[in-house]
Amino acid sequence: MQYLLLLHAEEAGFMNMTPEQQQQGMAAYMAYSKALVEAGAMVGSNRLRPVATATTVRVVDGKTQVLDGPYADSKEQLGGYFLIEVPDLDAALGWAARCPGASHGIVEVRPIWSMS
């Protein structure tokens, strides 16, 4: 089973850290990624640029609307993801709990809807 771990956190939290703390934070993510790879669970991962860079598109009555900003305004923003391959939800929840993002935000765990 593949699961997408969606990392939501307050962006300001990272921006307000000292460079030293930021470095520590990055190191924690590097270690986590490495552990996922070692365990053979990593499928893919990426970090997203801040939500200020978001642009929203939708087509209404054939007309394309482009809006500056994210779809929903909330305190916590989607900041990155890990796509993992594990046997079941318990294993996925285990990896979600280890994710550094779970300690400074929330990690949403979603099963992938296989189309194959």
């Binding site: 089973m1 046997p87 079941d88 939800l89 318990d90 929840l93 765990v109 099963p111 809807w113 296989s114 189309m115 194959s116």
Partner: protein, 404 residues
């Protein structure tokens, strides 16, 4: 015959299919088709030698047919084929393995909404239909049906595992199952007169489940504690109403009407649980029941012991409900004034303000210290909140007995 097999076998058969397909709903469907087939087949050809095995063979074939049918129509064909293959390869022996516990752990998984765990277990293990569960939990059958379906879909689509957790996390995960069984019992218990068959039966179903879990995990102290608690409470069922249907409080019950055998079993379980050296909420609650029984039978006051048990409970699970019972015990041991001081404040908690025992307890303690006007007000709120007519009449009697 199908009926006789049903109660013990139903959950085992559903579990056998669901563990291998992760699909509780499809397992239930396949099994109900198998039972329907039995109803036409057995009267004509005679009951098979191994009814359970017969049902499983039919249900398994139906499940595989459904899975292979889905494979043709839906995208996720690999998963369906894998499940069908596992099911087809599973050996059907004379003795069907009991995997009900693994299924209960899936139903009470932390990823499943806590409020639907008890209904889910009642349906998956015992085959109760949504309408009956809905009436016991005061919910519309349609809403209950929808929530049950949603939970089963979540189990399947998120691949919630069907297995007994490792030792390190067994305790916390087991608590969720025990809580669900206790919730089922409590819903049944709110009809102590036994007027509503759906609710009355639910207490028996809950005891069946508690017995099942205690039997499968005989070294888990809290599983034994829960069974002891339920047996203690149920043993007094016959004494809780007078011949003409009036509510009889514990202190005035005729102990001869209690089920002595059941109390004996509960006491034995509690002793075994204590020997395991891992105290918990249900053992403490069972110990409170045990102390009540002892006092009523012997006439020896033991309220100080009861207060101590409630202190332990309050430290473990400081719920307002525990606080209220603790306050009542304190009032018996040390006087109504002390009891009132120990009552929780309703101010910040809306649910407490709507909780009948909170107001009835306040009323009782206020009347004991002579605050009759306040007691009358509290009785009125309690009466307004109570849904059992016999308890309402009891509270009305207490209110009209107030002087002035």
């Amino acid at each position: 015959m199908a009926d006789a097999v049903a109660r013990e076998s139903y959950g085992k058969l559903v579990a056998f299919l669901a563990v291998r397909t992760r699909d509780v709903g499809a397992a239930e469907d396949a099994l109900s088709e198998a039972f329907a087939a039995a109803l036409t087949d057995w009267p004509a050809k005679g009951c098979p030698e191994n009814p359970e095995g017969w049902l499983l063979t039919v249900a398994r074939r139906k499940s595989i047919d459904v899975l292979r049918g889905k494979r043709r129509h839906e995208a996720a064909s690999e998963e369906y084929e894998a499940a069908a293959a596992i099911l087809a390869a599973a050996p059907v022996e004379a003795e069907i393995p009991d995997e009900r516990l693994a299924m209960m752990f899936a139903c009470a998984h932390p990823a499943i909404d806590a409020g639907i765990r008890a209904p889910l277990i009642l349906q998956a293990v015992l085959g109760l239909d949504a309408a009956r569960i809905a009436s016991a939990f005061l919910m519309s059958p349609a809403a209950m049906g929808k929530r049950l379906v949603r939970a089963k879909v979540k189990i399947r689509e998120t691949a919630i595992p069907f297995r007994v957790p490792e030792r390190t996390e067994l305790g916390a995960r087991l608590d969720a199952i025990l809580d669900a069984i206790y919730a089922a019992f409590s819903e049944g218990w709110t009809d102590p007169g036994g007027v509503d068959a759906a609710r009355r039966d639910l207490t028996l179903e809950a005891i069946f489940l508690a017995r099942l879990v205690a039997g499968l995990l005989p070294n888990e102290a809290e599983a034994l504690g829960l069974l002891a608690l339920l047996l203690h409470a149920d043993a007094r069922r016959g004494a809780r109403r007078s011949a003409d249907g009036e509510f009889v409080p514990l202190a005035e019950q005729d102990t001869a009407l209690w089920d002595g055998q059941q109390i004996g079993e509960a006491e034995g379980l509690l002793r075994r649980a204590c020997g395991l050296g891992s105290i918990g909420r249900f053992q403490l609650e069972a110990a409170v029941q045990s102390a009540h029984v002892e006092r009523c039978r012997t006439g020896r006051e033991n309220w100080v012991d009861v207060v101590e048990l409630y202190d332990g409970l309050f430290a473990l699970a400081g719920s307002p409900v525990v606080a209220i019972n603790r306050a009542l015990a304190i009032a018996e041991a040390f006087g109504a004034e002390a009891g009132l001081d120990a009552m929780p404040e309703a101010g910040g908690d809306v649910r407490l303000g709507e909780y009948q025992p909170y107001w009835a307890t306040r009323a009782e303690l206020l009347s004991r210290i002579g605050a009759h006007a306040e007691a009358r007000k509290a009785y009125e709120i309690a009466i307004g909140l109570e849904r059992d007519a016999a308890v309402r009449r009891f509270l009305e009697k207490r209110r009209s007995a107030l002087p002035g």
